[in-house]
Subunit: 134 residues, 2 copies
């Protein structure tokens, strides 16, 4: 039985090493998995970005979110230029080990548009409406 | 200026058509974008799955989340067999139109492991611990 399969029915508190889990992570053909950032206080979903194994390790060691920018092909310590850092509160993987959920303390707005989060294009039937800042 | 660029600085309440937005969505080379499902009541992030244009339209028309299963290469009305449907409360796109955030009323557990959400593998320094059901 695969490690992930055995964890599906494992009791709470069961431990494995991070290295063992990282061997099971389903990185895509670019070596990346999606990482969701959620505000630890408001519980808003702030953004989705991408991580490779090195950015996962850097985030854990540094305590602030570092992603991999697909457009710039470079590591991207969130807020490095804007100051809008994401202090890591928790990191979780999902059942299939193909998605990461980070909870973070977000300094300032998460979105480059200066909105608190990136999900401001709200569908309303056949229209999409720019949502108010929250 | 591109539509998405113009929306970056648009006032709240600005409207475009859904069709115009869908032309801007950055589907990957499989025609998919990641879709995050968040519980509308608890604000827990439940899962991440994938949508193509048809599953976006089906979800909006039907009022329940339909994803595209990459492994089964088929549409997947969430909960069709388990009964754990996701009633759509809102659908939002992010600034880059490459990620969708759904808020849903989740019937029963969202995860196939019968946990309420899929993110139960919690990193704790060099270990990963199976988190308690929430």
């Amino acid at each position: 039985m695969s490690l992930l399969k055995s964890l599906e029915t494992a009791e709470a508190g069961t431990e494995i090493t991070l290295n063992a889990l990282l061997e099971e992570v389903k990185f895509n053909d670019q070596g990346l998995v999606p990482a969701i950032a959620q505000d630890s206080q408001t519980h808003s979903v702030l953004m989705l970005a991408w991580m490779d194994e090195q950015s996962i390790r850097t985030t854990l060691e540094d305590g602030f979110a570092t992603y991999y920018s697909r457009s710039r092909k470079a590591y991207w310590r969130k807020g490095e230029t804007s100051g809008h850092l994401q202090k890591l509160r928790s990191m979780r993987f999902d059942c299939d080990a193909d998605t990461i959920l980070l909870t973070v303390d977000q300094s300032g707005p998460a979105c480059h548009t200066e909105r608190q989060h990136c999900f401001y294009l709200k569908v309303d039937a056949e229209k999409v409406i720019v949502a108010p800042a929250e």
